[in-house]
C-alpha cells in the first residue's frame, strides 16, 4: 500500500465527466494540414491514448491543447470549476488552469539540477512578487518549505533520490524522461498530456514508466492523455484510444474496438508497406 498523496489533483469534476472536449479543430502550416477537423473528448480520470503513424498529427493535437499551436478552426473546451475555451488562452495561462505536459523531444531546463527543474514545476503555485522576491524570509521561507515537501514527495515517488542534485543535461535519456514527468507532476495538474513518454527506453524502463503513469492516474486521480507508439503498452493501460492518420481521426474506442477497426488495421498495414 502506498500512503495517500498530499499532492492531489485540482480537478473539481467527478470521474467520467467530460473534462476536455476538442471540437473539429483544423490546423495548417502553410500548405500542410496537420489536423483536419479532429474531434476528441477526454473524461475525468481516464487514460486516453492517441496513436497513429509518424506525421499523423499527434504532437500537433497536444500542442494545440496546451496552446503552443493555434488551430485556425474549431474549439477546445476544458472543464474544471467552469468551462474554459483554451483557444483564447496563452500556453502559460493554460498551464495555470491545471493542464501539464511533457514533450516528445525532452524539453528540460538543461543547465539546472533535477531539483531546480522540479521546483520550477511549482512556479504557478508561488506567490510571485518582484519585490519580496522569495528571499529566505518569513512567509517566503514557509512557502518554500511547502514546495520543497511536494517536490521531495515526487522525487520519492519516481525513485530519483540519487540524482536530485545532478544537472539534467548529464542524465541518461530514460532518466530525463522521468524527470520531465516529475516536473509536470509538480504543477499538481488536473490533466497530464504525455508525448511519447517511453520512446527510446529499454523494456525495464518502459515498465517503470507504465507503472508511474498508472499510479498517477489511479491514486491521484489525474486524467492522462498519452501519445505512444508501443502498442503493447497502449492496449494494456488505456481506457480509450483515438487513432489519427494524415491529420484525421480514423478510429476511436476501447482497445478491443480499435484493434478490430478495419480502417485502423489498414492505416498501420499501409505504414508497414510504405
Amino acid at each position: 500500500m502506498t500512503t495517500a498523496p498530499s499532492f492531489a489533483t485540482v480537478s473539481q469534476l467527478a470521474p467520467g465527466e467530460p473534462q476536455l472536449v476538442v471540437e473539429k479543430i483544423t490546423l495548417s502550416f502553410g500548405g500542410v494540414t496537420a489536423l483536419a477537423g479532429v474531434s476528441l473528448d477526454v473524461r475525468q480520470g481516464e487514460i486516453r491514448a492517441v496513436i497513429g503513424p509518424n506525421g499523423a498529427g499527434k504532437t500537433s493535437l497536444l500542442n494545440s491543447i496546451s496552446g503552443l499551436y493555434r488551430p485556425q478552426q474549431g474549439r477546445i473546451l476544458f472543464h474544471n470549476d467552469q468551462e474554459y475555451n483554451l483557444l483564447e488562452r496563452r500556453p502559460d495561462q493554460i498551464a495555470r488552469l491545471g493542464v501539464a505536459r511533457s514533450f516528445q523531444n525532452i524539453e528540460l531546463f538543461r543547465h539546472m539540477t533535477v531539483l531546480d527543474n522540479l521546483m520550477l514545476g511549482r512556479h504557478i503555485h508561488m506567490k510571485s512578487n518582484v519585490l519580496d522576491c522569495g528571499l529566505y524570509w518569513g512567509r517566503a521561507q514557509k512557502e518554500e518549505v511547502r514546495h520543497r515537501q511536494v517536490v521531495e514527495e515526487i522525487i520519492d515517488f519516481l525513485e530519483i533520490e540519487a540524482i536530485r542534485k545532478k544537472p539534467v543535461g548529464t542524465l541518461s535519456y530514460g532518466l530525463q524522461k522521468r524527470v520531465e514527468l516529475g516536473r509536470a507532476l509538480a504543477l499538481e495538474p488536473a490533466i497530464l498530456l504525455l508525448d511519447e513518454p517511453m520512446a527510446g527506453m529499454n523494456v525495464e524502463e518502459k515498465e517503470d514508466m507504465a507503472r508511474f503513469i498508472l499510479d498517477i492516474n489511479e491514486e491521484r486521480g489525474v486524467t492522462i492523455v498519452l501519445i505512444e507508439h508501443d502498442m503493447g503498452v497502449v492496449m494494456d493501460i488505456s481506457d480509450r484510444i483515438a487513432v489519427l492518420d494524415f491529420g484525421r481521426k480514423i478510429g476511436d474506442g476501447t482497445p478491443d474496438e480499435v484493434r478490430a477497426n478495419p480502417e485502423v488495421i489498414k492505416a498501420y498495414l499501409g505504414e508497414d508497406h510504405g
Binding site: 524539453e107 543547465h111 531546480d116 520550477l120 512556479h123 510571485s128 528571499l135
Partner: protein, 290 residues
C-alpha cells in the same frame, strides 16, 4: 603606486558602469535572444530623466532619482510591449534593425526635448577628494563603485533566489518548457527590459555626475559591446567581470602607455580572447539540438 591606485579606481568606476549596462544587455539577450543596440541610448535617457527631475523640476535628489528609475522601468516595459512583442518570431536581423532604429529614435527624442547642448548635472554625489594610501581620488568615483557593486549583488541575488529571477533563467534555458510551467514569457521579457532600463539609468546618472549630461553618455554605452563579447553574451558574471576588465585596461593603458591607445587596447584584448574562446570568457557554447 600612487598613480596605479588612482588609475585603478578610475578604471573600476568606468568598469562598474560598464558592468551595469552590460547586465541589462545580457538579461535581454539571455531571455529573448534580442541584441539590443539601443542600450547606450537607455543610458542617455536615464541620465536626462534624472536631470529633468532633479535640475529642472528642482525635486530633492532622492525623489528625483527614484522617479527617474520608475519612469525608466515603465519605458522599458513600454518598449518591449510596443516595439519588440510584435516582432516575436521574426528573423533576428529584423529585430536587430529595429533596436538600431530604436536607438536613433530615443536619441532624437532626447535631442528634441533637451537640445544637444551639454548640461551640468546637479552634483548630489559628494565629489570631495579622498586620500587613500597616498592616492587622491574623488569621492563620487568611490560612490559609483560601491553603488554598482551593491546593485550587481542585488540583481545576482534576484536571479538566484526569487521566483521571478528563476523564471527568467528558465525562459533563457527553454522557452517552450517555461511556458508549459505556467511562466509568462511576456512578463519575463518585460521584466528584462525594465531591469535593463533601470540599470542603464543608474549607469547614466553616474556618468552624468562625472562627465556632465550630453550625447557623450550614449557613446560610452557603446562600450557594452566589447564587454559582453568578452564576458559572453549570455553570462551575468561575465558581464560583471568583463566590465571590470575593460574598464581597468582602458585606465591603465591610458595612464601608462598614453591616451588614444586606451581606446584601442580593449579591442585588441578582445580579439585575442575571442581567438581562444569564441563564446567569450563565460559564455555557453551553443549546442545545436538535432
Amino acid at each position: 603606486m600612487n598613480l596605479f591606485l588612482q588609475l585603478t579606481i578610475s578604471g573600476m568606476t568606468n568598469g562598474a558602469v560598464y558592468a551595469l549596462v552590460a547586465l541589462g544587455f545580457v538579461l535581454i539577450y539571455k531571455s529573448s535572444d534580442v541584441i539590443n543596440f539601443a542600450q547606450g541610448e537607455l543610458l542617455l535617457v536615464g541620465a536626462y530623466l534624472a536631470f529633468f527631475f532633479v535640475a529642472q523640476l528642482g525635486l530633492a535628489w532622492p525623489i528625483g532619482v527614484l522617479l527617474a528609475l520608475l519612469v525608466a522601468a515603465g519605458l522599458g516595459i513600454l518598449i518591449e510591449r510596443l516595439v519588440l512583442e510584435p516582432l516575436i518570431g521574426e528573423p533576428i536581423i529584423s529585430v536587430i534593425m529595429v533596436t538600431i532604429g530604436l536607438s536613433s529614435l530615443l536619441r532624437a527624442i532626447v535631442n528634441g526635448i533637451w537640445t544637444p547642448r551639454p548640461r551640468l548635472f546637479p552634483s548630489f554625489i559628494p565629489s570631495t577628494d579622498v586620500h587613500i594610501l597616498g592616492a587622491v581620488v574623488s569621492a563620487d568615483r568611490l560612490w559609483a563603485i560601491a553603488l554598482s557593486f551593491a546593485l550587481l549583488a542585488l540583481f545576482t541575488l534576484f536571479f538566484r533566489r526569487s521566483s521571478e529571477g528563476i523564471a527568467m533563467r528558465a525562459v533563457a534555458d527553454d522557452q517552450q518548457a517555461a511556458l508549459s510551467m505556467g511562466i509568462s514569457v511576456k512578463r519575463v521579457f518585460a521584466i528584462a527590459w525594465s531591469i535593463a532600463a533601470v540599470t542603464a539609468t543608474v549607469g547614466g546618472i553616474m556618468l552624468a555626475n562625472i562627465i556632465g549630461v550630453s550625447g557623450d553618455i550614449s557613446r560610452i554605452g557603446l562600450r557594452v559591446f566589447p564587454v559582453v563579447i568578452l564576458g559572453g553574451l549570455d553570462s551575468i558574471p561575465g558581464a560583471i567581470i568583463g566590465g571590470m576588465v575593460i574598464g581597468l585596461l582602458e585606465a591603465w593603458t591610458g595612464g601608462y602607455v598614453g591616451q588614444g591607445l586606451n581606446q584601442v587596447l580593449p579591442f585588441v584584448v578582445l580579439v585575442l580572447i575571442l581567438m581562444v574562446r569564441p563564446y567569450g570568457l563565460f559564455g555557453q557554447e551553443i549546442i545545436e539540438r538535432v
